[in-house]
């Protein structure tokens, strides 16, 4: 057999090894190419004036003084920009009932959140542009701000959009079995809690940035951007700026972190493209940190009324909840702001076997920054609802949290199977992950330590989570709903005349190591030294068409396309070699840049020599042989809506009952992401993800006052996890390959962020259990801990 299915019959040189990323060498020497590093001839800067109010009518804008200021080239109001763009609407057809009005890049008549752009100055320097901003005179009429998610739904609430009868954007209900009837039975113990999840945001260290250039002779718009999905943005720019798609080029070089923040359509970036077209010159916009805090999408912001019913033996009868989530004044385009809620409805309880489920999701408009998909979309909420309620139920019936999981987790031999909500699962390993977790953390020793310390008034807690993670999305995720978001990805592999491999892919790199794993796969499957593989990603002009990097799809989908393309090129090269060597293709193989005899390993011809015959001395080949030495393959997930990854995690914390501070003593994560292509990269993805989860659980919150003013929009006031508070994180793996691909890889990027918050809340509640109180609000700040302890009012 020689098909790609046999690729893993032999040991691999690179796949499965912790090879350092080759592109890190550049970044370590200050040679990154981030957007703000770019200087183009005649480049000018776009500087935005933003609404200081959360909700205000714009009566008039006087830009006459600003236009005269030093360095100012042009000034545009929201109305000016609106003339050059088709507005966008953040709805998808597979989320029936979702409503959101047409949105323009800049506010036109009404500003609906603090930070919404209302005017833009184009200036020779950012500093001069900021001077000129002060000369724009706007007459605002402040309108009542709608800030609280629950109040927003009351009939008394002011409306954010007058054409709607309420501030509700979307509502969905999911029902399986009959929860109400099941919970009415005598043997069911019901636990109810309200769980609150604060608003936080991505805080990518590189802020959003774009340089847009327009070349009139070609009618070509080039957008360099710090983003994740170049082809999606190409479509959006073409559609809304009324251009031919082929005349729009989107390029993402090095990106300083993204985490979902940089996969959306932002008005200031679209306006920058419009201005480049109008002025026919390059225009740069780089958000400053204040702009990032009030315009980058925010995440979470949920109030959930949850209940779980269990029997005395710990078996789950059912789960139910009502989720209210605030999304700001619009649903974000084009992915919508309803996906997180939808994920919560789909994923809650997914690791467990139970019959009855009743979940309601309410997506609500408010006058705050837009909320949309951020790393681990919906996962931290879904995992906290099921696992924190489960551990609470375990406490009520006096059962160990591990035992109650063992009782309810879907057995590892039950796949393929479906959840109560209809999610289809295959190749999962909840029990194996839990077993491994208990081994690496030494649970029994921690329990002994906990008991000993409690006697001394030290409150330590151990908390778990069993999680699923949505990765490798198929067209069922966005494409089916009409979004211009490719679910398939492509890879092209080309042999050059020197015997080196040039590969390109439509998945993108933001630091997670996409380029590195593509390089590993191509080198291994084709048979060259990894140093001879050059990777190109992030440019719509040169890479195959595809979705980019989001929802942990880079390795699983982009990697499989690269495997298929590399294998196809290998077969092509062996066909040529067979002619040159007068052998049969199946007798030959490629190893370390040489065509070799498969059985003896004897070197027959180097790839460079073979390529030179093809490219330079084609006369030596038969006339009917015209080798291309290039192959492209595309891949999409076909049998499932997405490929689920699973894992188990545990946190060990100490709660200082005098100060309310929570110290994380250690964190453990066991992940089953299928085949691990580069263990070091995967482990650090998980660690980084866990730390983002810790951020949301303990520190990070966008604090708003009742007028919709964000109170902590600086990095001095908004707390992010820093090194001194972070625990050591032990990572281990179970590898159950997904059968949906040859590579067998599932995503790993969401797990830490999706799972850590529930594990931490469980650990804190485990610590506080002897004090008869609990924490049900994230972030679990010292103040909230002291409040829960009754030490402050």
């Amino acid at each position: 057999m020689s098909g790609p299915a046999t690729i893993f019959d032999k040991p691999k040189d690179y796949i499965g090894k912790s090879i350092p990323r080759s592109d890190a060498a550049r970044l370590l020497r200050g040679q990154g190419r981030y957007v703000d590093d770019m200087q183009l001839p005649r480049m000018v800067n776009a500087v935005f004036l933003r609404s200081p109010y959360a909700h205000a009518k714009i009566n008039s804008i006087d830009v006459s003084k600003a236009t005269q200021a030093t360095g100012v080239i042009a000034v545009y109001t929201g109305k000016d920009i609106a003339r050059h763009v088709e507005p966008y609407i953040g709805v998808l057809s597979h989320l029936p009932g979702l409503r959101s009005p047409a949105q323009y890049p800049l506010a036109v008549d009404v500003a609906r959140w603090q930070g919404e752009p209302v005017a833009v100055i184009v200036c020779t320097s950012r500093a001069l542009g900021e001077d000129a901003l002060e000369l724009i005179n706007i007459s605002y009429e402040q309108l009542p701000a709608v800030t609280d998610t629950l109040d927003a739904l009351s009939s008394e609430s002011p409306l954010i959009h007058n054409q709607y009868d309420s501030n509700l954007a979307w509502k969905r209900e999911v029902e399986a079995g009959n929860l109400e009837e099941a919970f009415a039975k005598d043997d069911v113990i019901i636990v109810e809690k309200q769980i609150k999840f604060g608003r936080h945001t991505g805080v990518t260290l590189e802020t959003r940035a774009t340089v847009c250039d327009y070349i009139p002779g070609d009618d070509e718009l080039i957008m360099y951007y710090a983003g994740q999905a170049p082809h999606m943005l190409q479509f959006i720019l073409a559609k809304h700026l009324d251009m031919l798609e082929e005349n729009v080029r989107v390029v993402a070089h090095d990106v300083g972190g993204s985490f979902g923040i940089k996969v959306h359509t932002y008005g200031d970036e679209i306006a920058t493209a419009i201005i480049a077209k109008l002025l026919r010159r390059p225009v740069k916009f780089t958000a400053d940190r204040l702009e990032s805090f009030v315009t980058d999408i925010h995440a979470r912001d949920h109030v959930v009324d949850a209940k779980i019913g269990v029997r005395k033996d710990g078996s789950i009868v059912g789960m139910g909840f009502n989720d209210f989530t605030g999304i700001g004044p619009f649903s974000m385009y084009p992915r919508t702001s309803a996906i997180e809620c939808n994920q919560i409805l789909n994923l809650t309880g997914a690791p467990y076997q139970f019959e009855h489920y009743h979940a309601v999701g309410n997506v609500v408009f408010q006058n705050k920054t837009l909320m949309c998909q951020y790393r681990a979309v919906g996962h931290p909420i879904a995992m906290a609802i099921s696992d924190c309620m489960l551990e609470e139920a375990a406490r009520v019936i006096g059962m160990d949290p591990v035992q109650i999981r063992r009782k309810n987790l879907i057995p590892d031999d039950a796949y393929p199977t479906k959840s109560a909500t209809g999610m289809r699962f295959d190749d999962l390993s909840h029990h194996a992950c839990l077993d491994k977790l208990l081994t690496i953390m030494d649970y029994d020793a921690l329990l002994a330590d906990q008991a000993k310390n409690r006697d001394n008034g030290i409150y330590r807690g151990i908390g778990f989570v069993s999680l699923v993670e949505v990765t490798n999305p198929s067209p069922m995720f966005y494409g089916i709903g009409g979004a211009p978001i490719a679910s398939q990805d492509g890879a092209t592999v080309r042999l050059d005349a020197a015997g080196a491999l040039h590969v390109s892919s439509s998945v993108t790199e933001q630091g997670q190591g996409t380029n590195a794993i593509l390089q590993q796969i191509a080198a291994d499957v084709f048979g060259v030294a990894i140093e001879r593989v050059k990777v190109t990603t992030g440019d719509t002009k040169t890479v195959p068409y595809g979705g980019g990097t989001w929802a942990s799809r880079g390795a699983g989908i982009g990697g499989e396309a690269m495997l298929l393309a590399s294998h196809a090129l290998k077969e092509q090269v062996l066909d040529v070699a067979a002619v040159i060597l007068q052998a049969k293709p199946e007798e030959l193989d490629i190893a370390h840049g040489e065509v070799v005899m498969k059985d003896t390993g004897e070197q027959k011809i180097s790839l460079g020599d073979l390529a030179k015959i093809v490219y330079y001395r084609g006369n030596e080949l038969p006339n009917d042989l015209q080798p291309e030495l290039i192959a492209t393959r595309h891949y999409r997930v076909t049998d499932f809506p997405f490929v689920f990854t699973n894992g188990a995690m545990a946190a060990h914390v100490e709660v200082d009952t005098n100060t309310g501070f929570i110290k994380i003593l250690h964190f453990w994560a066991v992940e089953d992401c299928g085949r691990v292509i580069n263990p070091q990269l995967v482990d650090d993805q998980i660690r980084g993800g866990v730390v983002q989860g810790i951020g949301g659980a303990l520190y990070e919150e966008c604090v708003y006052d009742k007028d919709g003013q964000m109170q902590n929009a600086t990095m001095a006031d908004y707390l992010v996890p820093m090194a001194s508070e972070m625990p050591e994180i032990t990572v281990a793996h179970v590898e159950t390959y997904t059968k949906t691909s040859i590579l067998g890889a599932k995503g790993a990027g969401e797990a830490g962020t999706g799972g850590a918050p529930a594990a931490l809340m469980n650990a804190v509640n485990n610590a506080l259990a002897p004090l008869d109180c609990g924490m049900w609000q994230m972030p679990m700040t010292p103040e909230r801990v002291l409040r829960a302890l009754g030490k402050i009012g």
């Binding site: 040679q31 650090d684 990095m715 090194a723 972070m726």
Partner: protein, 158 residues
């Protein structure tokens, strides 16, 4: 507001004489006037640490330093760490241990790490964490960075 002043600085061993707006910060000066874009700006208020570099041998936040304040100074940026700070072993260990992902915090993280090592501090994980706790990294979770710094110290101690 556009008043300028002439400054003389030595950056990574190379001398520059430049007219700069008096309100321009050192990070913007290096990035836009000298094209040394390895120094990154993350917050512009001295909190994230990305812009950290060496100013006359001491770490400084270049977003909180005006370019005119650097007149006469010797500056070492990430572009010079390998040669002027003899940090090739630290850079190698950052690379091998994957102590960076997006690379945006890396200039400041390296500067702070070099300072810790140069001061003769031990390969003590808690002390390293404390020392780098003024440098924000959103990607790694910090563990790999602490590993790389400790490995470098241990290797230097033989």
């Amino acid at each position: 507001m556009t008043k300028t002043s002439q400054i003389v600085v030595t950056v990574n061993g190379e001398k520059y004489v430049e007219d700069v707006p008096v309100r321009m910060n050192l990070a913007d000066f290096l990035r836009t006037k000298l094209g040394l874009t390895g120094t990154h700006v993350g917050c512009e208020h001295g909190v994230c640490g990305a812009c950290t570099l060496f100013l006359d041998g001491v770490t400084a936040r270049s977003c909180l330093t005006l370019a005119v304040q650097a007149d006469g100074a010797e500056i070492t940026t990430i572009e010079g760490f390998e040669t002027d700070k003899n940090a090739s072993d630290l850079i190698k260990n950052f690379h091998n241990r994957n102590a960076l992902q997006c690379g945006y915090c890396t200039p400041g993280m390296l500067a702070t790490s070099i300072e810790y090592i140069e001061q003769g501090n031990p390969a003590d994980r808690e002390k390293v964490k404390e020392h780098i706790s003024g440098n924000y990294c959103r990607c790694t979770g910090y563990q790999a960075i602490v590993d790389a710094i400790c490995t470098t110290i241990e290797e230097r101690q033989g």
